[in-house]
């Protein structure tokens, strides 16, 4: 093996905080060989992104490399002048980021943003750079590249924008491509396409890749070698096959365990349920449309949910899965009367939800509560945690005021928080704890149905598992019924009894968990399942 292309030696990165300089990466060493894919895996706060930014010389102002070296082609990048570093950035080392929606400049055309790199680093003329930009868009498989080069980022989908980012990063045929969670914000099928593209282009251009991710499944499918990071330190590294089959560190094992394995367990033979009870929630022909303004002020309706029907039994969980834009969240919010449905019937616990108005509707809301996706933005930052949980009780007034605080304390303990934490503000909690507050708030009115709208999608895998456990326990203890909205098939498999797969406003497949996961009837479901990255490809002794 030749000398490594890039080597990081004993790197220590510190961030300035109120309490002085705090290390976020410590004593990290790794190397990257020409043409290979190295994955850095870890949770948020593990220092994996900081490492990437340090290699690019793009640490935030409050950060600095406190010790160690980053050697690229015989030079220490930490000691380089900024002007020299700029000759490497975007030229020898390209980078793509997590958020394709915000990583492109909204006021320049995508063609210009790619051409700019070529003009800057390769002194190409305007016409030549534009022609090459079109070729690059074609290479990342943007259809009608010539026409699309003149469009703006907001006119493209998330997947297409990430393709543009890739085209931009690879424009100068860099020796290294750093991809920081490049597909985390994308749907699984789009993720699979982006990975195919990255693999193919990396092979073609002999680019070495550093892939930063939190998902061991992605590591197994993409990487040659892997470095596992925890709290700024390397806990383990090695080839992917070695690490996945013989993980040494407990943390690595828990990361591997968190990857969904969609091959079903032994088939449950007692599947025919006693259909004695009325389902708690029954939805028939639910249709939701939104007006879209078209040219010349003509109104047109966009059908987000197209006459879907499903039932949720008492004490069970129905998962609605689908990609962004499939209508899954809209359908769930229509059930809770948070968006208006145009047609259909929603019966919850014998009440016709869609016909309710005014005070009766307000009362009925006690019965349905929602846990939202983002624990950072769904809690009012100016209210104390206890007040947040208490507020629904104050609004609906089912409980005498004197008993409410006691109930809040009880709820806090139920969701695994301390009583004393009632007096803290949301920003003093971690993401997982905040989601526990959201759950307590949802439970405060004793609802019969809880809608979990991507309730664990924003959390790190290990926290995610804890919250799912909590939801399980609460269901068992309190007999809760969940309508579980998610794009993540692994999570869905762990949580649900029944599954409905939505695609473009329709339910394309609907059945018990085992039926849907083990023998999907529709091509769409099969593609969706196949697109989920798994560690099976590198397992030496496949399960079963």
């Amino acid at each position: 093996m030749s000398a490594p292309l890039l080597s990081v030696e004993n790197l220590r990165i510190e961030l300035a905080t109120r309490g002085g300089m705090v290390p976020v990466v410590d004593d990290l060493s790794l190397w990257l060989n020409p043409g290979e894919t190295l994955s850095i895996v870890g949770e948020s706060g593990s220092g994996k992104s900081m490492t990437a930014l340090a290699v690019m010389g793009l640490l935030p102002r409050i950060g600095r490399v406190a010790a160690g070296r980053i050697m690229f082609e015989g030079q220490d990048m930490t000691q380089m002048e900024d002007a020299n570093l700029r000759r490497i950035r975007g030229n020898q080392i390209g980078m793509i980021f997590q958020e394709p929606m915000t990583s492109l400049n909204p006021v320049y055309t995508v063609g210009e943003q790619i051409a700019e790199v070529l003009r800057h680093h390769q002194n190409q003329g305007v016409a030549q750079a534009w022609a090459n930009a079109v070729d690059l868009l074609d290479a990342v498989r943007i259809p009608n590249a010539k026409g699309r080069a003149g469009t703006y980022p907001h006119e493209m989908s998330g997947g297409q924008r990430q393709r543009v980012m890739i085209a931009m990063a690879l424009a100068c045929r860099p020796k290294i491509l750093i991809a920081d969670e490049p597909t985390t914000a994308l749907d699984v099928t789009v993720q699979a396409e982006i990975f195919d593209l990255m693999r193919e282009l990396a092979k073609e251009t002999q680019t070495a890749t550093i892939l930063i991710t939190h998902d061991m499944g992605v590591v197994a499918e993409m990487a040659d070698r892997v470095v596992v990071m925890l709290k700024g330190e390397k806990v383990e590294d090695g080839t992917v096959a070695n690490l996945i089959n013989r993980p040494q560190h407990a943390y690595t094992r828990s990361l591997i365990a968190s990857v969904p394995h969609l091959t079903p367990e032994t088939r449950d033979l007692n599947e025919q349920k006693a259909e004695v009870e009325q389902p708690l929630l029954s939805v028939r022909d639910l249709t939701v449309q939104f007006p879209v303004k078209k040219r010349w002020g003509k109104r047109e309706m966009f059908t987000a949910v197209n006459g879907i029907s499903f039932d949720v039994e008492r004490g069970k969980t129905l998962a609605i899965v689908g990609e962004s834009g499939s209508g899954k969240t809209t359908a769930a919010l229509a059930v809770a009367r948070l968006v208006a449905a145009q047609a259909g019937q929603v019966t919850l616990d014998g009440t016709d939800m869609l016909s309710l108005e005014g005070e009766a509707l307000r009362r009925a809301r006690t019965n349905v509560q929602v846990i939202f996706q983002d624990p950072y933005s769904s809690l009012n930052p100016r209210l104390r945690a206890g007040a947040i949980v208490r507020e629904p009780m104050d609004n609906l007034g089912n409980l005498p005021a004197a008993q409410r605080d006691a109930r809040v304390a009880e709820l806090f303990e139920q969701v695994g928080l301390e009583r004393e934490q009632m007096h803290l503000f949301p920003h003093q909690f971690s993401g997982g704890q905040r989601q526990r507050i959201s759950i307590a708030r949802a439970l405060s009115t004793n609802p019969s149905l809880i809608i979990c709208d991507e309730a664990v999608s924003a959390l790190d895998v290990i926290i995610q598992a804890q919250i799912l456990d909590l939801l399980h326990d609460l269901q068992r203890d309190l007999g809760l019924t969940y309508l579980f909205i998610s794009h993540d098939l692994g999570v869905v498999q762990q949580m649900c009894d029944d599954v409905a797969v939505m695609y473009m406003g329709d339910i394309v497949e609907y059945g018990t968990r085992n039926a849907v996961f083990a023998s999907p009837q529709q091509d769409y479901t099969r593609n969706l399942l196949a697109a989920v990255p798994s560690v099976e490809s590198v397992r030496e002794h496949p399960a079963q």
């Binding site: 690019m56 793009l58 700029r86 000759r87 490497i88 950035r89 975007g90 030229n91 390209g94 980078m95 980021f97 958020e99 915000t102 990583s103 492109l104 400049n105 909204p106 006021v107 320049y108 700019e116 790199v117 800057h120 680093h121 703006y152 907001h154 980012m165 931009m168 990063a169 303004k293 040219r295 002020g297």
Partner: protein, 324 residues
């Protein structure tokens, strides 16, 4: 939506707005007690009731207000703003004599304030807590807080009397002949009034631009621009600035009316032969047609200024173009 469609739509809105302004102005002026005949009578040292009634009839002031309004709107649509009671000349003629001077002052002050304000804002955003950033803020606030006539007089004393770099008053040197020398002469006369009027708005624009730049500099696409290896200047001036501009341009559009009212004072201080002086004399003389004419043209300038703002915003931000 096509550019021309939007232009036509906005122009239509502008015309409707102008009609509303006409009605409002007329009504408000007529709500105020007293009219030009009172002034004339006062100037004559008193007049008999018959004479007053006769003069009123002459000017059509004895008719019901609603008829006067109808007549007024009808005449305006024929580009006739009436006859000045005080100067006894057509109002349109007087306004057109003076409008170019005011337009020149207003637009040059606005552009000067925008350019300087934006540059200061961009500069201050580079090191938001640096000492230079604070100096910029202080300087801008000084311009904002100081009364415009005081700033004007101070500049006059400094740069016309102590260091005679610029002329004291007027708009051009009458002894100069030839087109280009005259243009230069006007530009020379323009400097101090423009600085004075612009200084109020520099503070607003630079504060907003600084805040807007700080937000944009923290965004993902600026990080992308850095990751491309672009120079700090390209990152700031190309990628960040264009995204930071829309709020500043929007504010500038809203400030057009404030610039015009500031111009009234500045014109008085520098004897700039614009609408401001005319406005002052006609208000004192209760010369209703002239006041209404000036208000009408001020409204027109504000509306056109806002139309320009809209069009500039569409040029800057492609996402605005998608919307009506």
């Amino acid at each position: 939506m096509g550019f021309l469609v939007v232009l036509a739509q906005r122009t239509l809105y502008g015309l409707l707005l102008l009609l509303a302004v006409l009605v409002l102005n007329f009504t408000m002026i007529n709500l105020a007690p007293g009219d030009v005949v009172d002034t004339i009578a006062a100037d004559m040292g008193g007049a008999s009731a018959e004479l007053v009634a006769q003069i009123r009839a002459e000017y059509g002031l004895d008719q019901p207000v609603i008829v006067q309004l109808g007549n007024y709107i009808w005449r305006v649509f024929q580009f006739d703003l009436g006859q000045s009671y005080f100067y006894n000349r057509p109002v349109t003629e007087m306004i057109f004599e003076r409008l170019p001077a005011t337009l020149l002052l207003v637009f040059s002050a606005q552009i000067f304030a925008l350019v300087v304000g934006i540059l200061l804002g961009v500069f201050a955003a580079q090191r938001p807590n640096g000492i230079l950033s604070h100096i910029v803020t202080l300087f801008a606030l000084f311009g904002y807080a100081a009364p415009v006539f005081w700033t004007g007089i101070l500049l006059l004393i400094a740069f016309s009397l102590k260091v005679p770099l610029f002329p004291v008053a007027g708009m051009r040197d009458v002894t100069v002949e030839g087109f280009f020398p005259q243009v230069l002469s006007v530009a020379h006369h323009l400097v101090l009034p423009m600085l004075t009027l612009g200084s109020i708005f520099i503070a607003l624009y630079s504060r907003l631009c600084r805040a807007s730049m700080l937000e944009v500099l923290g965004s993902d696409y600026v990080r992308t621009a850095k990751a491309k290896g672009l120079s700090p200047r390209d990152v700031t001036m190309k990628h960040a600035l264009k995204n930071a501009l829309p709020p500043v341009v929007t504010l500038a559009g809203l400030q057009f009316s404030a610039v015009i009212s500031g111009a009234v004072l500045v014109e008085t201080v520098f004897s700039w032969p614009g609408l401001g002086q005319l406005a002052l004399t006609s208000i004192l003389a209760r010369d209703t047609p002239t006041i209404l004419g000036i208000l009408f043209f001020s409204a027109l300038v504000v509306i056109v200024g806002n139309l320009l703002t809209d069009l500039v915003l569409r040029l800057i931000d492609p996402r605005v173009r998608g919307k009506a």
